[in-house]
Symmetry: C2
Subunit: 423 residues, 2 copies
Amino acid sequence: MPVMRNIGTLYQCLDEGGQGDVQPIDDAALVWYGERITWVGKETDLPTDGVDGLDDGEAHNAGGYIVMPGLIDCHTHLAFGGWREDEFAMRCKGASYLDIAKQGGGIMKTVGQTREASEDELFDHASIHRWFMRCFGVTTVECKSGYGLTVADELKLLRVYKQLAESEDQPGRIVATLLGAHVVPPEFKGNRTGYLDLLCEELVPRVAEEGLARFNDVFVEQGAFTPDEARRVLECGVRHGLTPKLHVDQLRDGGGAELAAEVGAVSADHLEYTSDNGIAAMAEAGVVAVTLPMASLMLRQPPLDARRFIDAGVPVAVATDFNPGSAPCHYLPWSMSLACMMNYMTPCEALKGATTYAAKALALDGQVGSLKPGMRADFIRCFIPSVELWFVQMAPSYIGDVYIAGKQMLRSRGMKEGEGRDA
Amino acid sequence: MPVMRNIGTLYQCLDEGGQGDVQPIDDAALVWYGERITWVGKETDLPTDGVDGLDDGEAHNAGGYIVMPGLIDCHTHLAFGGWREDEFAMRCKGASYLDIAKQGGGIMKTVGQTREASEDELFDHASIHRWFMRCFGVTTVECKSGYGLTVADELKLLRVYKQLAESEDQPGRIVATLLGAHVVPPEFKGNRTGYLDLLCEELVPRVAEEGLARFNDVFVEQGAFTPDEARRVLECGVRHGLTPKLHVDQLRDGGGAELAAEVGAVSADHLEYTSDNGIAAMAEAGVVAVTLPMASLMLRQPPLDARRFIDAGVPVAVATDFNPGSAPCHYLPWSMSLACMMNYMTPCEALKGATTYAAKALALDGQVGSLKPGMRADFIRCFIPSVELWFVQMAPSYIGDVYIAGKQMLRSRGMKEGEGRDA
């Protein structure tokens, strides 16, 4: 399956230039061989030989539409038990995140339902959402644990992700993150140190030993963990080969961005209340900022101003934060539209945030998130003439074909070839 | 095609009770005959005879999912030439509605492109969006003119709607609204009275004579029309049998809600800045409030607080405002989710707002928007166990089958029977 011709615009999304530089090529072609891209450029420059895949005979026609890297959702809590739609109705009437947590809702409610669920149940449920995400163009998904909060239940969640990653029915890349330090579970109330000991002495070593996660994440927030506690957990992870990630500054400025810079986190996520000092520290240390506008919308928080980060030289990734309470929507393109409307990003900036910089937030830059020779052939075709028109319309109808590692996963959902060309 | 059984929950959405009363029936069945509903109730209460359609033999199984009235989008600008995605990028960087209008963008840019488009081009373009809307469960669409602003071009737009309404390929109800008083076109700059004369002496009589519209709408706003100008146009419409509608108080409190009450408008739409006095006047006069949260999100305006209207006894309808600039998304369920998150409505209130009260905003109450005997058999099935779960997830994936006037239009897009049951 080697050549796609007649691409109206191909967005390369290279890890160079600024946040808005997505390196579009009009009238483009794309060649791949096996799982890898072998050539990208103007169709008129397509070589007649010397490129692997070119003579393979299978031609794909993009019909003049746009092609871009497969989308990367770099922050999700994919596997969980139950939903929290009751809290949504409470929130609709004005209840806050902390109000809900105090009434036994929030994360701890999901923890209870997740502990009760079997690994198979969690797998089935996560698979459905993984399937939808792929239909919507998402080819790589980061998945956090954090709703188990016992050694056994955290391992159970991470094994669901391992099963998903290895499932032949579920193509696409899964990147697992340990979030044992999501909140302190009630059985350790009054004994926070005991829970930190459990994380550092049992859970982290066990996860590392079984190779169940690539990253180690901590929720630094009032009601969750302090920077000092986070430092202990993250340093322990580093000793076991797990790279730090952080949830920070979501409900107030807790110095989380500075902490992310200090511990060498690959990304710091949320960041609604981050100070200028925090942004400068992230820029200096090369930490990727991950904006999660769906959560800001759901929790009615002042969304972060991405311009502050971009102007300071911090790459901004865009993700869903998919979870059963504060961001229950698995549809990444909407988060990208929201990033435009709420975080003051342009459509091209949001595209780079859900491809190139999302890959960087997962330390996968150089492998996925850009269309250039040597990268994995993960790409999508959308039935619309430009990224600007896609995000401005926010319409789910425009997702076209999804290719993962060179294989076409899905054709033309709900739209016939050629329809919607000028929509 | 007479009986649908095994409905997990059927939402009747009757025009009684409060905004949140959607009269759910668990384990329900629905019977229809031809275009009309003949019976609704608990499946165990299903009569064995005496109901038209029951013995017709064709059984539909809802698979335990939810059924609700077909959605009604009671405020759209469906037909237009071109898009304004360039303004979206400007808005992403902070430009305001009025900034954009001053630079030759906004409504007047679309007017130029609409005047250049042929009736066939406009029809093809509108058809695509109408088709998507129907896929997403929208069975009735209100459509405004207002991008022509000459007699010929306004008639052209309204004829597109007439063609859509009569198209056999395009089932579903279309309700046309004249919006000749959208803005004063540049050729009447310095001669506003001349444009009002044109509207009242030529356009309104012509539209009425040809039966091209049911409603007459005016945009009352700085840069558009004053309340006095609106009164003249609306009173002229009333004399010709066109019922008033209004765009009011979107960018500031312009006394538009009071005007809507005074002229007997069927609805007043936008209302971001409406005063308590305006709300009281609407309640007194029985004017439906139409919230358009997509436009508030796009224009970064303080969204209206629906609780103020609901508490005052004003029914609140929810619509998309679909248009090429300030609300370019045709996906009504997303506006319903936004109404929950931004306008403080509960999911059931938003459902009533896009069914029962949307019908009322189109003077179609008693015909569509509720599931009860005698109403048109417009209904949808969604692959999700409750409305709360649907809107909280905002996922386009859950739209199932769409029935219009008793005929099934579409089956199971992108999801196999039984999948997602517990999602």
